[in-house]
Subunit: 468 residues, 2 copies
């Protein structure tokens, strides 16, 4: 039922686009951004209010500053498992009733877990806001778990891993690539967890994690919608105000990457693969770790190189050279400790992956050497505005943008100023970013090779690498 | 001054060979093994006595059940750093005097750190044994560290990393390969630590680690030499006996590997490389994790495949096909959680690494399909005996064998029975082990490519992989 960000790159990319494209527009066109307010309760809870009076509805988010990358070694998946278990009981809410109550109130709710955050949200009529705040405040402090609930829900997450990862060679390849890509950082570990560790997750693991990380001084509440700042202050004081802060909450310090010195390759042979395909990830800075303007340049670079059917990768590989049936690329900058650039292609019928890869390399080489044209840059910037116009209709996207921005350490002002920062990017900035960050030494390349079942275990010989 | 096991595979392989080859002989020829005794003090300290009365000297080892794989995330290198700092002061020993005192007593001392153990040892005249025991017992409980000592010694380990790793492309390649190879287990992390984490190691980090892991109930004392069991008991009671156990010591549980599904490749271009070379690691069971007889079969397999100039790899690649100037392989089974098989070759002048790799693959393919001959198996078994005869002259090797065996969870009897287990291995066992464990899906292949300095950063394009 709930959405979960296992495909971190894809989902976070989506959020990222949402974030700054919205900012761009709000600065110029939307009345909302200029009136975004933030305050803090005495117990440390941060509150952000994003007015949107188009309809008498609100979107209510609780963002916890904890995700899969904060898990202790050996209990991978516990952040996501706890997200599931948060829908069990408290003294006031019977087991499994949380979402049903929201539905009976006419609302929808959901939750997701990434490496950096765990978030819960409801969209509901404005006169029900206090009720869902009470419910979220209640489960922030009073979660109850029985052994039975834990056992049953563990079966659910194991099944989730089976259906989303184990049965999906593309997911397996990405998972194996990330395990090779990050040498020290917990971004290496899948958000849903390793199967053998998930199978052992216990009630005690969940409650330990809950008590350590779930507290008002480790959370951000975002209310977007038909609400004033005064109302929001009164409601949050009344509901979240009485919660006790956890004095043990600390700044998040996760092990960081050493220098990457050597390109890596991962090859997965799978009978279920369907097509020959190739993808590559490059380690890059993220919004919080980038130099000024660098993340913005990377977003624009990858818009030109990899976004949609007008992108360079698509035009070269699919349209002109007919090496690939699809190709593209992206930049994800919305992680706390590092970002990622990705490129990918599916080989055209009968074309070897070595030729496809050489085609990708030619595109990347050219942009490193010559950068992008003023025209391309202008179009990329405009594309963000267009994206924004589409996205700004979504109250939930507005709420996400501020919640995630604050989690990344940005101020409201910095979030609002994203479009200004994007507008400042020059073609030189983009060329410099390309030259610096398309560095194969900081990359992992993965290939997915369809084979007959018996050949999956044909394992004595070397990886076929680029020969298909 | 001190030896440290950064090159884990090489050193542990040496220890492993030592371990069971010695056992083989001692069972039949040496009077020592049959009289090996073990007892435990009330505070939990395990003591092993290995009589060797050929000369009035003793080798005294303290093995701590802690190594680099027990480090908390983010403080890589702390186990090894603490090993250095153990040579600072206590109330009784002035700073830096430990080794000098041993030397003045006519002895030698040293220490090393692996992923699984930290060990300290002295070789000394038998009438000085009590003194070195007092000194080891003293620093097990009373280590003092000043900020100054920590700062100075940190400069020493950083320099050690620079000279052993940073200046050595082969070490860098192995380090990058291991980071790709292990997906979840801390064996991924270099024993000496990542530079950026070593640079932050503090006095507090060292003392926290010390207090957590250094205690009599987390140590094994091995005394080999001119000593009786009664003497050893009296001496250990008098010196180590008064130490307090640490009730917080727990069984060692480290995060284990998920299934490996896709072969990995790592390519390092380095101007200092000298030669084109290739190596591959396969994940394998270790002595403690293997099925009965499996580790023994792997030792014999790799003796046939990779040990010395009569091995299959050397004969095929160097002598017959002239593809390589050297080639070989090994099995390392003396780690707690998993073992490793390694193969390697240096390309002959003008030969591409793709041809070298294909040559290795032919050798491995053949042994998977056809196994080893009765003759080869017999010679491999005999080689262990020959190794033993050479090694058994070393009192220190005797002490190591029992210390390490107990750390791996073996009983004295199991250690003594190694040669029997080796003798039982059949050609079928070896073939089965080859077929099962030469599985490229559980492997990482590394290539080292000498390039002109300017080409190290030639990083836009894909790894050259097998093309040289």
């Amino acid at each position: 039922m709930r959405i979960r960000a296992h495909r971190r790159f894809v989902l976070l990319l989506g959020l990222a686009l949402t974030m700054f494209t919205q900012s761009f527009e709000t600065l110029h066109a939307s009345p909302a951004a200029s009136r975004v307010s933030a305050f803090k309760l005495a117990n440390g809870l941060q509150v952000v209010v994003v007015p949107d009076h188009r309809a008498p509805v609100v979107t209510h988010y609780v963002w916890y500053r904890v995700g899969a990358a904060d898990e202790p070694p050996g209990v991978s998946g516990i952040a996501h498992f706890l997200e599931h278990l948060m829908f069990k009981s408290t003294d006031k809410i019977p087991s499994g009733e949380f979402s049903k109550i929201v539905a009976r109130l006419g609302g929808q709710d959901n939750a997701f877990t990434s490496h950096d955050v765990t978030a819960y949200f409801q969209r509901i009529a404005k006169d029900r806001l206090k009720t869902v705040m009470e419910m979220e405040a209640d489960r922030m402090e009073n979660l109850r778990l029985t052994e039975n609930e834990v056992t049953n829900e563990r079966a659910v997450i194991l099944e989730e891993r089976r259906s989303r990862t184990e049965n999906n060679p593309s997911s397996i390849l990405s998972e194996q690539m990330l395990a090779s890509f990050y040498q020290n950082h917990p971004y290496r570990i899948p958000i849903i967890g390793w199967m053998h560790e998930m199978a052992k997750l216990s009630r005690e693991d969940a409650l330990t994690f809950y008590k350590r990380f779930y507290a008002p001084n480790n959370a951000i509440v975002v209310v977007a919608g038909d609400v004033t700042v005064d109302e929001a202050r009164r409601l949050t004081e009344a509901t979240y105000g009485p919660l006790k802060p956890n004095p043990a909450i600390q700044a998040r310090v996760r092990p960081q990457e050493p220098p990457h010195r050597a390109p890596r390759r991962v090859e997965l042979k799978d009978q279920r693969a369907g097509n020959f395909s190739l993808r590559r990830f490059y380690l890059a800075p993220s919004i919080p770790t980038a130099a000024e303007g660098e993340a913005e340049a990377l977003y624009l670079l990858m818009k030109v190189v990899g976004h949609g059917s007008t992108s360079r990768l698509y035009q070269k590989l699919v349209v002109e050279e007919k090496l690939a049936s699809s190709s593209g690329g992206w930049y994800s900058g919305t992680s706390l400790d590092s970002g990622t650039i990705g490129v990918h292609a599916v080989a055209a019928e009968g074309v070897g992956l070595d030729k496809v890869e050489a085609g990708i390399d030619r595109v990347l080489h050219e942009v490193r050497e010559k950068g992008v044209t003023p025209d391309e840059l202008e179009r990329a910037k405009k594309a963000f505005i267009a994206d924004f116009i589409y996205e700004s209709d979504s109250q939930s996207a507005l709420a996400r943008r501020y919640g995630e921005g604050l989690l990344l350490g940005l101020t409201i002002e910095q979030i609002n100023n994203w479009p200004v920062a994007i507008a400042k990017v020059t073609a030189d900035d983009v060329k410099r970013a390309a030259a610096k960050h398309f560095d194969v030494r900081r990359s992992v390349t993965g290939t997915l090779i369809p084979v007959p079942p018996e050949a999956e275990g044909d394992a004595a010989t070397k990886p076929a690498a680029n020969k298909t």
